[in-house]
């Protein structure tokens, strides 16, 4: 129980179309993450699933039942909001029990479910506190607890961690991952944080201006981005994109050298991640350049190499590097890891 099916779902605000026809099936028990730049419609889509926004066109099915027009309460979903949206005047216990109370559940059942959730989330010491007396992470846990007690068909999360500080974010991320493992419920998670998306998702949906740019596992997205948008959006620092021409089984960078090319289609752009570039002597590899900036990060250094007409290329050196600014280097790309894109920005494969 917990499959969700979106069929040509659209959302219009007046004349503006915000969600532009989305077809998506979400499998039972899946952890699905929506990512995309700000304003691309992630929250809107999630809220449409939850019933907080109405669906302008298209249908939504939960467990095979059309729920397009149903109010939120009838969809059996639970939502965790970015700002937690706890009831500030109620104790933690009451916050978690509220949904059950309004549904008129018997006292004993409420008690049992709330206690169970509190235990799972290690909230027992705080049950009598008000939300304002909790830390950010604890509040987030209460928000999750409030969802759990209702045994929902699926959980909806809207950037649940973005109000937490970095360290806490890592910790809560691990907890959510564990929660998913133990509950095995369907979870739909919105974030704009790549790390969260990559580490949590079974599948990631990348949205671009209300359309799906790509759906796939994190590895698919990283290794085989379907278009330049995904290619640049996923991965940090982002993938280097260079113009190229292809001819006769070989590609050639504009203004530099090239390599072999075994696709039939004509690619005009080549993408290579900073990880997949090796530095060598000038004249070796695909192109030459001058070291423009070295960013030392401890575990890695990123060397930004100015390759003239080819552009500025970011190269990762695991650990430190001995290079100096102004040094000339040659860059060679790992042939297996190259991505090629055609003039529409679509992957050529």
């Amino acid at each position: 129980m917990g499959s969700i099916e979106l069929k040509s779902v659209e959302k219009w605000y007046g004349d503006a179309q915000v969600i532009k026809g989305i077809d998506l099936s979400i499998h039972e028990g899946e952890f699905l993450v929506f990512v995309g730049p700000s304003g691309c419609g992630k929250s809107t889509l999630l809220r449409m699933i939850g019933g907080l926004e109405d669906i302008s066109r298209g249908t939504l099915e939960i467990n095979g039942k059309d729920v397009t027009g149903h109010p939120p309460a009838k969809r059996g979903l639970a939502m965790v909001f970015q700002s937690y949206a706890l009831y500030p005047h109620m104790s933690v216990w009451d916050n978690m029990a509220f949904g059950l109370k309004t549904a008129g559940a018997p006292k004993a059942e409420i008690q049992e479910k709330v206690d169970y959730a509190a235990q799972t989330l290690q909230l027992e010491p705080y049950l009598q506190r008000r939300p304002k007396d909790l830390s950010g992470g604890q509040r987030q846990r209460v928000a999750i607890g409030r969802s759990i007690v209702r045994d929902p068909t699926a959980f909806l999360f809207d950037e649940p961690l973005s109000n937490l500080d970095a360290a806490l974010r890592v910790e809560m991320r691990h907890e959510i991952a564990k929660l998913h493992r133990s509950l095995q419920s369907t979870m739909i998670y919105v974030t704009h944080d790549q790390v969260e998306a990559m580490t949590l998702a079974d599948r990631i949906v990348v949205l671009e201006f209300g359309k799906i740019a790509q759906v796939g596992t994190p590895r698919e997205l990283y290794e085989r981005p379907q278009n330049t948008f995904v290619a640049q959006f996923i991965g940090s620092p982002k993938m280097n994109l260079m113009s190229c021409t292809t001819q006769g089984g070989a590609y050639k960078l504009d203004g530099a050298r090239g390599g072999s090319y075994d696709f039939t289609d004509n690619a005009i752009q080549i993408g290579v991640r900073p990880d997949h570039i090796a530095m060598g002597k000038v004249g070796t590899g695909q192109c030459d350049g001058v070291v423009d900036l070295i960013e030392y990060l401890g575990s890695d250094s990123f060397v930004i190499v100015d390759c003239g007409a080819v552009g500025r290329i970011n190269v990762r050196c695991v650990g430190g590097t001995e290079l100096d600014i102004g040094e000339k280097v040659g860059l060679s790309f790992d042939a297996d890891k190259l991505s090629f894109f055609d003039k529409d920005g679509m992957r050529v494969s």
């Binding site: 019933g51 907080l52 939120p72 309460a73 700002s83 706890l86 009831y87 005047h89 509220f98």
Partner: protein
């Protein structure tokens, strides 16, 4: 602990500069507020212990009027000397005047007067209360008309000392005795409390209802919101008189309407009958001030995180449940703050009742009493005593208020 002991105590030059600037900026306000708020408050306490009537405000002064009267051998300069007070004597009164060259004295001066060159000086040891006498100097003049002009154009100077009831040290408790005397006080207090409590609660409840109506966005919402603020924004005198005319027992539309609809057979005297008048002024208060509560409650409502309601939607709460379990607790803070503030303001209210009923027909509140005592009956002392009572009540409220408000959202 060690650290605290180590705390630097001297003010840094920067802090000193800032402090000087702050006091400089505040000085004008401080001085004016002190002059117009603090000083009057002190004064009112002082006056409340004095047996003083409106007319006593005029310090006893000698008044002198000079005129050239009569003609020929009856020609005379008259100084009419009076004591302005009928209860206090004036001591050491001295009149000084210039005797014009155009006239010559015909008779020797009376004993109390002396002439030095042309300067005429008369002194009196004591002017009895209500003293009113003429001092006559028979004179001759060549041109009587011209002389009259000249004589009367030079004003005589008069000085004298008297006890001023405002500044002397005569005190009495009579004013307070008068205020607390008899059933009058109890009834006034009762009326004040009724008016204050129901006026405040009514305005809050009605305001809450109005805020609920407008807490959604639709076309025309802005217009309606503006409209609902009219009662508060319009001059009180305009709306009070409109109400009086609307509810006039003889030619008011309200009565005509009620009679026509068959609700009542006889005209109702809304602002003239006990206890209806009190209810009506309270209703007026509610009508006039619900916009304020409405404005505040609406502002608070719109600042409530809408995600909370969405969470409740997901939790399956019904509209009334949302109102009762979520909105009301969220509004409790602003409601109690509003209640306290409005309570104090309603308690202080004067204009409305004064204009509607003048405090008649059982609508006399403490503030109206101040006016009645001090101006209608001209007993300033008694008025001040009522004012002191009001002030003490307010001090009590304010203490309570600050106790409470410090825990509530700051206003």
């Amino acid at each position: 602990m060690q650290d605290n002991l180590n705390r630097p105590t001297a003010k840094t030059p920067m802090a000193k500069r800032e402090e000087r600037l702050a006091w400089g900026l505040l000085a004008p306000t401080l001085i004016s507020v002190a002059l117009v708020v603090v000083l009057p408050l002190v004064a009112i306490f002082w006056i409340s212990f004095k047996p003083i009537e409106l007319a006593d405000l005029r310090p006893p002064t000698p008044i002198v009027k000079e005129a050239l009267r009569g003609s020929a051998e009856k020609l005379r300069i008259e100084y009419r000397l009076r004591n302005s007070s009928r209860s206090e004597a004036i001591r050491d009164v001295k009149i000084v005047d210039e005797l014009p060259l155009e006239v010559t004295l015909r008779e020797p001066l009376p004993q109390s007067c002396a002439l030095d060159k042309r300067q005429l000086t008369c002194s009196f040891e004591r002017l009895e209360p209500g003293y009113n006498e003429k001092i006559i100097f028979p004179v001759t003049a060549d041109n009587e008309d011209a002389a009259e002009e000249i004589v009367e154009s030079s004003e005589p100077q008069v000085t004298g000392t008297a006890d001023n009831i405002l500044t002397n040290f005569e005190f009495t408790l009579e004013n307070f005795a008068r205020v607390f005397d008899g059933s009058q006080f109890i009834s006034v207090l009762g009326v004040t409390l009724f008016y204050t409590v129901f006026g405040t609660i009514g305005a809050l409840v009605v305001g809450l209802f109005a805020a609920l109506l407008l807490d959604k966005s639709f076309r025309g919402q802005g217009i309606l919101r503006g409209l609902y603020l009219f009662p508060y924004v319009a001059p009180v005198i305009a709306v009070a008189f409109s109400w009086l005319i609307l509810f006039d027992p003889f030619s008011g539309s309200a009565n005509a309407l009620l009679i026509q609809m068959g609700v009542t057979d006889e005209a109702i005297n809304f602002f003239g009958d006990r206890p209806l008048a009190l209810i009506m002024v309270t209703v007026f208060e509610i009508w006039r001030y619900f916009p304020l509560s409405f404005l505040f409650i609406l502002a608070r409502m719109q600042s409530i995180d809408s995600e909370m309601y969405e969470a409740a939607d997901m939790d399956g709460a019904s509209p009334f449940q949302k109102f009762w379990y979520l909105s009301i607790p969220q509004l409790l803070g602003i409601l109690s703050v509003l209640f306290l503030l409005r309570f104090i303001w309603t308690f202080n209210k004067f204009d409305d009742i004064f204009l509607l009923t003048g405090g008649n027909a059982g609508t006399r509140t403490l503030t109206v009493s101040v006016y009645e005592e001090a101006f209608a009956i001209s007993n300033i002392g008694a008025g001040a005593a009522v004012a002191v009572v009001i002030f003490m009540c307010l001090v009590a409220f304010s203490l309570f208020f600050f106790r409470f408000i410090s825990q509530e959202e700051g206003l």
